[in-house]
Symmetry: none
Subunit: 198 residues, 4 copies
Amino acid sequence: MPKIVDHDLYRKELLNKCFDLFAQKGYASITMRQIAKELGVSTGTLYHYFPNKKSLFEHLVEEMVQQEIAIATADWKTLTTRQQRAEALGKYLLCNLDYHIKSSYLMIDFSQHQDSQGYVDSPFWLRLCERYQSVIYEFLGLEDRALADFMMCFVDGVILERLLGNDRVDVVEQCTLMGKMISAYLEKYGYEKPEPGN
Amino acid sequence: MPKIVDHDLYRKELLNKCFDLFAQKGYASITMRQIAKELGVSTGTLYHYFPNKKSLFEHLVEEMVQQEIAIATADWKTLTTRQQRAEALGKYLLCNLDYHIKSSYLMIDFSQHQDSQGYVDSPFWLRLCERYQSVIYEFLGLEDRALADFMMCFVDGVILERLLGNDRVDVVEQCTLMGKMISAYLEKYGYEKPEPGN
Amino acid sequence: MPKIVDHDLYRKELLNKCFDLFAQKGYASITMRQIAKELGVSTGTLYHYFPNKKSLFEHLVEEMVQQEIAIATADWKTLTTRQQRAEALGKYLLCNLDYHIKSSYLMIDFSQHQDSQGYVDSPFWLRLCERYQSVIYEFLGLEDRALADFMMCFVDGVILERLLGNDRVDVVEQCTLMGKMISAYLEKYGYEKPEPGN
Amino acid sequence: MPKIVDHDLYRKELLNKCFDLFAQKGYASITMRQIAKELGVSTGTLYHYFPNKKSLFEHLVEEMVQQEIAIATADWKTLTTRQQRAEALGKYLLCNLDYHIKSSYLMIDFSQHQDSQGYVDSPFWLRLCERYQSVIYEFLGLEDRALADFMMCFVDGVILERLLGNDRVDVVEQCTLMGKMISAYLEKYGYEKPEPGN
DNA sequence: AATGAATGAGCGTTCATTCAT
DNA sequence: TATGAATGAACGCTCATTCAT
């Protein structure tokens, strides 16, 4: 009998440890040797669990997206009013800003190297696209696609600004502003379902 | 002396031709050979004008930022009402979306590989940070930093979404929505200077 | 004690299954993993029965040579006239051409990687050299070494041509021609013992 | 202006220097590093002249076959009688035995790694197949395909025996024997064109 | 100024081999 | 006995960079 190892579990452990490395250096700049060293294994072991670098990266992104959706979904469920959710969103963004920045680096890297390969229509990518969308939908408690997209863009933008090093953007302040905006907009242009969950 | 003029001019020509290459492949993935080939010169020539790959990239980003600021400033000057500017912004984003996506790729790449090197305080980076900020300030005709940041984030987010392949985000629609939001917000929370340029 | 029998038997089984793999890919190109997979065992098992790849290969060649000699010797015994034997040789070559090609690949591979290690004088190699020699001697029923060598070279050459992909060489035709040659030669230059086994 | 180098000429020089290495170690066992070191260049230079190892090997074989045909054709032209040619063949085989063994190693290696890729019908391979054939045809001064094939097989066989380390095969003796065989055969079975070139 | 041949460290990957189970 | 996870040296190959011309 061989060494007893839960293959799939170990794979996920390796992936989790990879996250920071890919995010900080970028796909093309991080080397398999560096990854192996950082994870405390040999390159051979890396290749025992993943056929190649690209596959390792794709599994990493996949895993990341899944976890993100799971977490966001769970967190949003317990909140009922839009106000609560606005605060939760701000907190969520702020507390996990580093994570979101890294996550965004990965997504950007991924999109850049998958271009022109029809990945846009893949189930993988669709699930990924639902990510913020579902988060935002849940938050707003409505199905106004334009409004949801607006919030999604805003959230992305906040992250991108921080990612680019613009520390002067105040996440909490911006989220509050967003809340006010939404309220003012809905009041002016009318909305029959002002509170989610009702 | 005339040599110097040619030298600098040729440098800028080379940089302009580099833009797409770096944006599409990413800094780490594009090779000096590929660049040289695409520019129709030898690698030796490339190294004659730039000491190394990193310097070439930095000059490219620098040049790009300068051009962007110049163009945006010039375009905004002639417009007077917020409505005009909102429309101009939408048009600007839409018409040059490809350019903005590429530009963003470069900025992201740049920030990723400059990390932990104190570039954030460099004059280069500060000028760069003023980029959207000045664009937005001009657009709004006000000095409400939070509002300006909000718009900046929104613009960034729209670009990021498209960069990530989410073609369902409608740029025009989103800009219109943004216009309405701003209006509703200013109406509700009061603002003494509703129109720029007055 | 019974274990030992099984052990050796299993070794031979493994070797037989290896034959095609080494012949088709060559010693350096076939991997222990591929061999193990093809044999339906683990690499660990392979190493349990053979200390390393080289040893596995040498045992394979050894085994192959022994079997070849045994088969050839057995087949030739029942035939009495030179004509019978000429036909048998043709048939033998033709029917087992694939096998002979593979066998030759192994021998060539073996000789190439044993060079400059004095294997030429090893009992292993001497036994191997007797291979065709004994086959040819038996066939001709004489001890004219030059003639035997001639036939051996011819047989080798036919195999080599086919191995190299020259399918235009007709084995049966060539064997018939060889038969006529030998007859014509012996008739002209005289030979007191025209028929073997007398 | 770059360093002045006759690209094609240098390529051929490199190929000539490669010959022994590939012949002694075999395609799969020789490494690009070893080749580079032996040729006194860097691996980068090797890859500057050949896109990859396979291509290097194929060019080597191609070049070898061309040279071989050229040499054989030139040498045979001046000889008129079959007797002269028989002697020349023996001398040729004997004097260049080492070369022929190496050449055969390359051809065998080549055939083994090109299998199942339809190379058999390629112009490259056809030219190669004409190699011995044309040599033998020239030698015999006739178009009896079977007889030519017979000689070709014999020559191949002699080389293969030596390649396998069987030094007891006497090349001169065997060639003489072959000459007698042919004579005896032609006398017995008749042949209207006993002398080539007449 | 401009070329491209040359370099060699370093990349992604493989593979014979070991060893805990 | 049998397994397959783990190792790391070494492979084919790349690429930023240098330099003779």
